[in-house]
């Protein structure tokens, strides 16, 4: 059946998080209906976001025509040719005057593999710019940096999710799957959970052991757990000897983090540190998993590395039934980081600075290595440079809403406003789209074909149930239209996802994330293919790699590397003016900047407005009461939120979800300190004060 043929129902996947729960979409009496399928990740379950996902398809303010900001300053509908001609002409003019790096692209971790791939190619060839990065930088970049350094390869989970079913102990560091990816909890039912989180989350409530550290001290805790693992005799010396290098240097850092010192820095009782290591050490099957809570710090890569060190000392990675993994967040957070929308990477998880990688990709693209730009700015650095001397003057945004999701968002708003040209492709008028010069209405999940790669590195088919609404184009069509107008040959930018995927396969061949053996046909036949899956001309097809590292790590010598890491304070610690820690995170009903989920009535009813969780004593001292309005102020700005008194909060910490726009944006207060390796901003900790506000949030 051709990809575009009308269908009565399709097997596809939820549009939201990296679990990519399997669903069946069909036509019901009142529109599109969804049912969970028995896909192994969700096993017939869905959370409220998944059940209500069809509502996003026809929200009342769905974008259906291109919009162009006129001389009166208003966005007004125009035809596609006018919109694309205008964009192309302005891009050309800016490039002629300021060079190709004056043009920038900001992508997203929700884009399909095909879109992410073509977006990277479009940036490098059609625009000729090095300035492309994406919101995944705000997601898993710290774990990716740590995983690459330790294992020679970064795949969120190097094993299938269902392997967790038989775990005896699972340590979740800064992860709250009960609220961020609920169906995952079905795989954690039999394990004793150790949850590391400054808040008593829904996940922590299910834990055998909840370690509640001061925000910004996870690294000290991880060092302390390694210390105990070694000094209390849980270290798997044979494994360390045979499968790793670098233990001594890592230990010499951990040697200064004895449990009582860790207790003083983190607030986690010594007895609980020991209990955690015992639970891990006694388990026959154990996993260490990290999430954004540990990773979104200016030392996030080192923190992830410290948890990997712990896993290595216990002998977990690369052993069947045990391991280390990162719980990737966005829908295609895995595939999105592999195919070239990252500032420093080319398709196949190749480094853009590697001459061999450049030669290979240039060959596939029909150009010369010299024609490919070098590495560009990372996400926040890119946003920070917009409209500045030497910075980009035009920005194309695909699948992202940085006005809400980037740190220090008032500053980001200023930078976006300083551009000569802002173009946003989206299916709803997101906060960023509303400030754009040109808005391009694009298709969404149930209206398109493609592939995504979920958190376990499994390549999945997204299938089309409906045609896009009239007037709406796919992102691939938009890229094609712009590229041609910029003078590129039309054949370089196919609009059929299958064709783009076939090119992606060639581009990824021989790379770390090798997709060359994955085809739509094999996926449609129901094969479970985890990368790497190289093509084997003539022979039996490669079965994919559900479990990595069992025979050795992807390093030159096959050994995993301990990292020599040490703890340091976050960029900001409380002082007299800003006496509290603030940390940010997600709620179950919303996804990322909320651009989609805030438009779904059921979800919006469940979590209608920004709020701040505060310990009752802390609130009382600040003159705040339950249900009142709080102003939460950091050195960068103030956000307004409804007060929720939560007795299990640390008295020195407040929490805000980050899904809301306007004056209730949590990112008005977050900081811009970046991790030196991953360039991850410090979303998870800043210093604030709280006081009563007058306006409702």
């Amino acid at each position: 059946m051709p990809d575009n043929a009308p269908r009565t129902s399709v097997a596809t996947h939820c549009p939201y998080c990296a679990l990519q729960c399997g669903t069946r979409l069909g036509h019901g009496a009142s529109g599109t209906v969804v049912e969970p399928s028995d896909f192994p990740v969700n096993d017939g379950s869905l959370c409220q976001k998944g059940w209500t996902a069809p509502a996003v398809l026809d929200v009342p303010d769905r974008l259906r025509r291109p919009l162009l900001r006129g001389p009166d300053g208003r966005l007004a509908p125009v035809g596609w040719d006018t919109a694309l001609d205008t964009v192309a002409a302005r891009l050309r003019r800016i490039r002629d005057e300021h060079g190709p790096d004056a043009l920038a692209v900001f992508g997203g971790g929700g884009l399909t593999n095909e879109k992410a791939y073509l977006l990277g190619k479009f940036a490098r060839l059609a625009l000729g710019t090095s300035q492309i990065d994406y919101n995944g930088r705000f997601c898993m970049s710290s774990a990716a940096a740590a995983g690459n350094a330790a294992f020679g390869l970064d795949r969120g989970l190097p094993f299938p999710v269902a392997d967790l079913d038989t775990a005896d102990t699972v340590l979740l560091a800064g992860a709250n799957p009960a609220e961020t990816m609920p169906p995952l909890m079905r795989h954690l039912r039999s394990a004793d959970l150790i949850v590391v989180d400054p808040r008593r989350t829904k996940t922590a409530e299910r834990a055998a052991l909840h370690l509640q550290p001061v925000p910004g001290t996870d690294l000290a805790l991880a060092l302390g757990l390694l210390h105990i693992a070694v000094s209390d005799g849980w270290c798997d010396k044979e494994y360390v000897q045979e499968r790793t290098t670098g233990f001594d240097a890592a230990w010499r850092r951990a040697v200064t983090w004895w449990p009582e010192r860790v207790e003083q820095v983190t607030g986690v009782p010594v007895a609980e540190q020991r209990a955690a290591v015992e639970l891990l050490g006694e388990a026959r099957r154990a996993y260490v998993l990290t999430g954004r809570g540990a990773e979104q710090h200016s030392k996030g890569a080192d923190t992830a590395a410290a948890f990997i060190n712990l896993a290595l000392a216990l002998g977990l990675p690369g052993v069947a039934g045990s391991g280390y993994g990162c719980l990737t967040g966005q829908g295609n957070g895995q595939g999105g980081r592999e195919h070239g929308q990252k500032a420093d990477q080319l398709p196949g998880y190749r480094m853009i600075t590697d001459p061999e990688a450049r030669a290979h990709v240039a060959r596939v693209w029909g150009t010369t290595p010299d024609a490919l730009p070098g590495p560009g700015r990372s996400a926040y650095e890119l946003l920070d440079a917009l409209g500045t001397e030497g910075g980009p003057r035009a920005l194309l945004v695909f699948g992202s809403n940085p006005l809400v999701s980037a740190p220090h968002s008032a500053h980001v708003a200023d930078r976006l406003a300083a551009l000569d040209l802002l173009v946003v492709a989206d299916f709803v008028p997101s906060e960023t789209a509303r400030t754009a010069d040109v808005v391009l209405p694009v298709a969404q999940w149930a209206e398109e074909e493609g592939t995504l790669t979920n958190l376990e590195g499994r390549v999945l088919r997204r299938r089309r149930l409906l045609p896009p609404p009239e007037g709406v184009r796919t992102d691939l069509e938009v890229l094609h239209g712009l590229a041609v107008r910029l003078g590129e040959p039309a054949h370089r930018y196919p609009t059929a996802p299958r064709q783009v995927f076939d090119e992606l396969r060639r581009a990824s061949r021989g790379g770390t994330a090798d997709y060359s053996g994955v085809t739509y046909e094999r996926l449609d036949a129901g094969e479970a293919l985890h990368w790497p899956c190289p093509e084997r001309p003539g022979g039996q097809p490669h079965p994919g790699t559900p479990r990595l590292f069992l025979d050795g790590f992807a390093t030159p010598d096959g050994r995993a590397r301990f990292a020599e890491v040490d703890h340091r304070d976050p960029a900001e610690t409380p002082d007299a003016e800003h006496p509290l820690y603030a940390t940010t995170g997600r709620v179950l009903a919303h996804y990322q900047s909320g651009a989609q989920t805030r438009r779904v009535p059921e979800l919006n009813d469940a979590a209608p407005e920004p709020y701040v969780e505060i310990h009752p004593d802390t609130a009382e001292r600040a003159g705040l009461r339950e249900g009142g309005t709080a102003r939460v102020t950091s050195a960068r700005g103030t956000t307004v939120a409804r007060v929720r008194l939560v007795g299990s909060m640390r008295t020195d910490t407040v929490f805000l979800p980050f899904h809301h726009p306007g004056a209730g944006r949590a990112n008005l207060i977050t900081g811009t300190a970046l991790d030196p390796r991953s360039k991850m901003p410090e979303f998870k900790v800043c210093a604030v004060r709280i006081e009563p506000g007058t306006d409702a949030p």
Binding site: S231, W258, G267, P269, H615
Partner: protein, 477 residues
């Protein structure tokens, strides 16, 4: 002051090690030389008891190699300082010039005035040893050990040696170990704890004579002492500073820039007296190292002493002392004593701040209060919950839920939604799931949903508990 001066550090303990590491981090680019009297790389002295109990080796205690460009001279002792010419002479006959001199000479064990403990030539008699270095731990003879002195080191060493399977007697002149910090109840608990793990205690007794293999106490008792471990305190190592004419009281006196009276000479760690105190804690020494690194790198800053926390390092025994034993300014005292379960807390508050505390057997309270004290933060209003460690994660009793209570968080289903579905005919989980989507997310609410169904149907809710419905924890409260 520029960041390119030659910094000469005398001593290579944890304070000196941290100083040279942080000097580079704070931008000092000049040459750095470190003279270490011990013939080994810097190591973490705090963990010596882990060597005693056999969980770590002496080599495991080694600290990271110093940053590039730092010249470390192990086994070289400074013998004199010529302040006029800014020279340091060493026992190897060398003369080193400095722009800034840092005295990090540490402390040495105090040898008690105990007949027989020293030989005629001033060395420790065979069988007796101090416990300061890995060599000391190595030197400890086999057989029954007598630990002399029930301070922190004496207690930690006693416990470590017991873990290693040794027979240990602890002799302490006070009424109970750590008597200058612990009240009677805490002291009795600590003594009981030591006895329960096999220690013989001789408190309120002084040693009067040591003969190889024997220790004689003031009441005439003769203890078998195949090894005698002297844990009788330390003294700041100040001889070099004294000879150089620098002011010394208990330690080498330094100002808020950790400077002696000679502006080119600083001191830190166990040898230094800052604000009248020589705390002798590695945490304090590291704080000073951080400050001094900034100062020597040219930053305009001064040292502010933190609030030291005394925390026993012993697996399974949570004991902490915060602040002075009788804090001035305390306006309220809260005591929670549960000796039968080995728990006791005496908390002194100044308003809502911690003025002082003694805690034993309360691991959560120890962690929480030590942070509140060190950071001078207000204590939570529910002081009992704080002391009992139930402030977070208290499992609140299951009470009658309001209709608006959300039972299925994954799908935001309230109790009222469930009851509506029940009235419409849903009688089991499948029916409820079809009607409300409850239980179709993480599945964790199934137990709560069954309870609501059961109570709606009027059958006993306890009948469902056998199916494991209590596993959902306290998320319904």
């Amino acid at each position: 002051m520029t960041a390119t001066h030659h910094v000469l550090v005398v001593g290579h303990g944890p304070a000196a090690h941290r100083l040279v590491e942080r000097l580079r981090a704070h931008g000092h680019r000049g040459p750095v030389t470190v003279l270490g009297a011990e013939p080994r790389p810097a190591y973490n002295r705090v963990l010596l008891t882990s060597v005693l109990d056999g969980s770590l080796t002496a080599g495991d205690l080694e600290l990271p190699a110093p940053p590039d460009g730092v010249r470390v001279r192990p086994g070289v002792t400074a013998t004199a300082v010529d302040r006029a010419r800014r020279l340091v002479r060493t026992d190897t006959g060398e003369t080193l010039r400095y722009d800034r001199l840092v005295l990090a000479t540490g402390a040495r064990p105090r040898i008690p005035r105990l007949p027989g403990v020293l030989t005629a030539d001033g060395r420790l008699t065979e069988g007796a040893t101090t416990l300061r270095t890995p060599d000391d731990a190595e030197r400890l003879a086999d057989g029954r050990v007598v630990v002399l002195g029930g301070g922190v080191l004496g207690i930690e060493s006693t416990l470590a040696l017991l873990r290693a399977g040794r027979d240990v007697t602890l002799v302490h002149p006070g009424p109970h170990p750590l008597h200058d910090r612990l009240d009677g109840t805490a002291g009795a608990l600590l003594a009981g704890r030591l006895r329960s793990v096999g220690a013989l205690l001789r408190t309120g007794r002084a040693a009067v004579e040591y003969r190889p293999g024997k220790l004689v106490l003031d009441d005439g008792e003769v203890l078998r002492a195949d090894a005698l471990a002297l844990c009788t305190g330390v003294e700041p190592e100040t001889a070099l500073a004294r000879r150089a004419g620098l002011a010394v009281r208990t330690g080498i006196v330094v100002d808020r820039r950790l400077r002696t009276a000679d502006p080119r000479i600083h001191a830190l760690g166990d040898c230094a007296e800052f604000g009248g105190e020589v705390p002798g804690l590695v945490g304090t020494a590291w704080e000073q190292a951080e400050s001094l690194a900034r100062i020597l790198a040219g930053h305009d800053t001064h040292h502010r002493a933190g609030r030291p926390v005394l925390r026993l390092r012993a697996p399974g025994l949570d004991l902490a002392c915060l602040g002075p034993p009788d804090p001035s300014g305390a306006t309220r005292h809260i005591t929670l004593s549960d000796p039968a379960r080995g728990r006791h807390a005496a908390l002194a508050l100044d308003g809502d701040r911690v003025a002082g505390a003694v805690l034993i057997g309360l691991p959560r309270a120890t962690a929480a209060l030590a942070q509140l004290y060190a950071r001078d933060l207000p204590v939570p209003s529910d002081r009992f919950a704080l002391l009992l460690g139930t402030a977070a994660g208290a499992h609140r009793a299951r009470v009658e839920l309001p209709d608006a209570a959300v039972l299925c968080h994954c799908n935001h289903v309230t109790k009222a939604d469930l009851l509506r579905a029940w009235r419409a005919g849903a009688r089991d989980l499948t029916g409820i799931a079809a009607a409300t989507r409850a239980t179709t997310g993480c599945g964790g609410c199934a137990g709560d949903v069954r309870l609501v169904l059961a109570s709606a149907t009027g059958t006993s809710a306890t009948g469902t508990s056998a199916t494991g419905t209590s596993a959902t924890g306290g998320n319904s409260a």
